[in-house]
Subunit: 251 residues, 4 copies
């Protein structure tokens, strides 16, 4: 399959071509600690074409010729067919999870990180439920932080969340095999139709967006909030506050 | 508006031209975690011309051709007129806040960060007032730290703060719409005429200076102090101390 | 010894040649805080040839011509013979430890870091045994974290650890002279035949792998887990949990 | 003074020339958080010539033509004469402190950082003395950490500290004017003749070495130990331990 014709799918002079964007994004994500030790990844959809990094590569060294390309419309055929495959790699176990964001939410890009801040937030929720018998370990909630405005209001809605809105990110339990997360991820999408992210306990987070720009900036904003939430916990500051402010809400 | 003539306002071979400085500064700020997920920004004033980044861009990818240029003297006309606008963006909601620093303090540059250290300092002040019924949540104060000398003594004053001086940064409450912060920012400038920065609760900080060099180094020094203050809090060390030292004060 | 013929052993246009990889890896490790102040290092084995950085160099400045090359099969001769030596350096004290990984585990690459996270983990284990009279200060254990899957199942075994598997890294006591660690490192390899790493109390960690890719990604994953473990400790979250999950285990 | 002839003192094609090294080192130090907001600095001595950065510059932007050059032997003349001065800057207030390291310890390079870890260590020592009535706030002591071996044994001594040796760094009180620290720095050098560094309370640290390599790697090792010490304090682990180990001490 890795023939000359198929390779054209990942060769472009345009720095904004998905085959060039994925390596440059992954290199950036490596410096942020999101894709340490081959963990995590990133996939971009361009109409029907899905570009995706292989399994087990060092993300800061990724090259366009390392990428898989598959057809979204053909992905439910018994044997998922790759339009282009790199010669020496295996497909990523994240593939069905990325595809869920593309097919169920029309996402244009999906990012998976192993950020420690994401993992710590899921551990803190678990701890809170176990030790204090309070709270819900299955959803991360935070409000009254400006960075919340970095998120879209939800699926097929226009505009972004407001400062006083509560951002809610569902948490699913991890499974031994990453592929097996798919059904739980999809269920979380059903339960929280407006979310752009799903946390995976003791594992990391999946974040998507309508396009690369939105997926990347939402992922950054979320990681910012996770880190802030961990620091708030260390300092004894609650994630949810009820600031009763009446401020002019102009639109 | 994005015509060839107007574009000349943002095209220059000089690396110190505002249209080149804003992108290079923003890229640096991104690595510092100040402008995560399109948050934060930077504006430079050159005499009557104000250069400003658009709303919602990835700051580490900013290009000179993305910038707005407006005339400071014309900014109070009913419809603020841009001398140059990029084709596909919207003006930043920070614009009136940057302009306040330019018109009321004669600043040459204003930086807005979402630094987590700034946010945590405002949260700690809030917590201190709520739980201990002490302190003033509306001003951050620190003294007897060398880095305080990184700040000018105040508006139209010469020289810098001394080691034993107390640095005071007012804190205003956040509003749902960033533009609505303007009146509170201006009120804080009135109440603390010598401050070069205003913290915004649960949001970040605005820092300015007479020129790019001063705005940038004051912003760095302040972020340093915010981070130090958070670590001091974790270790139980108070921000204000009364070291009664009599040291030779040569000028 | 540093003659023209021997220098050819470290001169190559191939960026994946060991003499080029060691400097680029060490520069990367420096930014990660693993080889601060000339501490730590990295060695690569290519069949019988072993490439190794000298003692006491700034790792981010390392050049191919700074490297030693020795023959693995000749390394037990009374006087270890270097096939190539840089003119002005001394061999690294880590040499016998790197060789232990090559000869006893068939490793292709071995990395030694002074990562603070590794040091803190060994201190926490020591503290736990001293103050709580519980736990075993001689082994670091963690389970139910996704990043554990970044490790091979063990020496001459295929496949990687699973999410629910417990990762065990033995800890040896530090010695005044690094060379003297060799016998303890080898003993730990005997006691934990499947480990790919050995922690050294108050010192750092040695991590190896069948090849450069595996050693580097295992070292990254381990450092990630050490950092996470320290943060978990600060937040009161135990490293070992018993999540009794029955998830489909497809292979 | 900034004439063509004098400028030759700072123009060289050799990347290891002091006039090139100081900018490249300062840029690196900026990324490490050592010279934030124009704080801190670095000076190199080459025989009788001393190269030194000016006051108040952004250290990551420093250029060779920004540097001062002065003669060490002429520095005690009533008016210190600069062999070369940049046109628009002022000499650094750190100058007499750097010179103290050159004249009293024969150092070839001296680095001054505002590292937060250094500042926090001095604050913790102060706190310990005030609240627990124990310990000596005027000296930082740590032992049984491998990185201690990164320090020379002392002035005019050969060899490095050992793993079990206690590293002692004296702490002096800060003064409103940096120049006024000189006498206290010199007194600390007298009291601790073997130290390669002096901490300045609530300010930072001065570190030197026989040459650039040693000053830089000792400064890195020390910052590593300061950071480790702060984290140890957060986790309740003492800086001094008495591990009675009898390990073979081969020399």
């Amino acid at each position: 399959m890795a023939d000359v014709e198929a390779d054209k799918l990942v060769i472009s002079d345009d720095e904004n071509h998905p085959a060039n964007l994925i390596p440059s994004l992954c290199a950036k994500f490596w410096t942020l600690g999101w894709v340490t030790g081959t963990g995590g990844g990133c996939s971009i959809r361009n109409d029907d074409l899905v570009y995706i990094a292989p399994s087990g590569v060092q993300k800061e060294l990724l090259k366009p010729l390392d990428l898989y390309v598959l057809s979204l419309s053909a992905q439910n055929t018994p044997e998922r067919t790759y339009l282009r495959a790199p010669p020496r790699y295996k497909p990523s176990q994240c593939t069905p999870l990325f595809l869920a964001a593309f097919t169920r939410r029309g996402a244009g890009c999906c990012i998976h990180t192993h950020s420690q801040w994401a993992v710590l937030v899921t551990l803190l929720l678990e701890q809170q439920q176990q030790t204090q018998q309070q709270g819900n370990a299955r959803v991360f909630e935070i409000n009254n932080i400006e960075q919340i405005k970095g998120f879209g209001r939800g699926f097929q809605k226009t505009g972004n969340l407001g400062y006083h809105d509560t951002l809610r990110i569902p948490v699913i339990e991890n499974t031994p095999h990453e592929e097996d997360l798919t059904e739980y991820l999809e269920a979380a999408m059903e339960e929280y139709p407006d979310t752009y992210a799903v946390l995976v306990r003791r594992h990391g987070v999946y974040v998507w967006g309508d396009n690369v720009h939105k997926a990347k900036t939402q992922c950054e904003s979320l990681d910012y909030l996770f880190q802030l939430a961990v620091e708030m916990k260390k300092l004894g500051i609650p994630w949810i506050s009820d600031i009763a402010r009446i401020a002019p809400d102009r639109t």
